[in-house]
Amino acid sequence: MGFSTLIDILGSTIMGGLLLIIVLRLNNTATEKSTNYGGELSLQQNLVTIAQIMEYDFRKMGYCKDWTKFPDPTKSIAQASINSIKFYADIDDNGTMDTISYYIGGLLTATPNPRDIYFYRKVNSNPPAAINLGVTQFFMKYFDALGDTLTQPITQPSLINSYEINIQVETVYAYDENYSTAFWKQIRLLARNLRNR
């Protein structure tokens, strides 16, 4: 075996090693991106699902099919705080007023994400439905009829004319703990029945 043959073997070994590293990195990146994109997709679907549920409920705030059962829309909101809200709405359109609450709970321990929390939706006296869709933040701001921000805690919910809903959602599982994040900020969503005063 001559010297040039040795050089050939050494050179091809180095080149082969470099190629192997490149292919392995490519494979790693492809796996990471594939996981992240899957997570992003479910993340945005989760966010849209939460937004749809909340918009449906909040828009009906103060509404009752039989208006005589709820003639005063200023009483639509029973309780309001930065992380929770409780209001009245006839969400199933049966002429009976329902009580709907949204609030957050403790940290979810069953998922790898260390920040996701329980997010509850409660209707009447039914057990609360925990929305485990990777919610990591839920907070609200409230405004009066002039558009001024009401200071917390809200002692007179009847002053609320509009509000702002903020939700942050993260992926529950992530590659290498790089969790994706998405936000939804509904600015001053006005329940139509709150204007009737």
Binding site: L19, T29, A51, W184, L189
Partner: protein, 158 residues
């Protein structure tokens, strides 16, 4: 290593490089789409919020306090009577709203037109009982411009 082997090796390397560049390009393109989609959610929330804000106002400057029964009682020129004061629906004509959500700047440009019910996509210069608000929301962080619209019709309790 003879010349043929060297050429084969170089060819293989070129193919591999092209493949890797192609994969990287697609990854970056998909990143862009994912970011656009996230920004789109925020832009949509700004659009719906603006629509909500506009829909709470009176149909016209002349219907704020009293009802009207004839079309010629409505305002011909749409837009804010007092700059910066939005007290009826058509005041949003020409209104530009700037918002910054999580450090992403958004610009919403609003336009209000009278429309006919038989052709709601076409604006008319004649006064009708229906006005259409169109909002175009853009941000330097996204290639897309979102467009949302709503129709507001005049009604009053007798």
């Amino acid at each position: 290593m003879n010349l043929g082997q060297s050429l084969f090796a170089i060819g293989a390397l070129v193919l591999l490089s092209l493949n890797i560049m192609s994969v990287n390009t697609r990854i970056l393109q998909t990143d862009d789409v994912a970011l656009d989609s996230k920004i789109g959610v925020l832009g949509t929330s700004i659009g719906t919020s603006t629509i909500e804000d506009a829909s709470k106002l009176a149909f016209d400057e002349n219907t704020k306090d009293d009802g009207v029964s004839k079309l010629d009682q409505l305002t011909q020129n749409l837009g804010a009577e007092v700059p910066g004061v939005l007290d009826d629906f058509d005041d949003y004509n020409g209104y530009v709203q700037k918002d910054t959500v999580f450090t992403i700047p958004f610009t919403a440009v609003c336009k209000v037109n009278y429309i006919n019910t038989n052709a709601p996509d076409v604006s008319t210069n004649n006064r009708t009982w229906h006005k259409k608000l169109t909002i175009r929301i853009s941000t330097p962080f996204s290639r897309d411009t979102l467009e949302m619209s709503t129709i507001y019709s005049y009604w009053y309790f007798r």
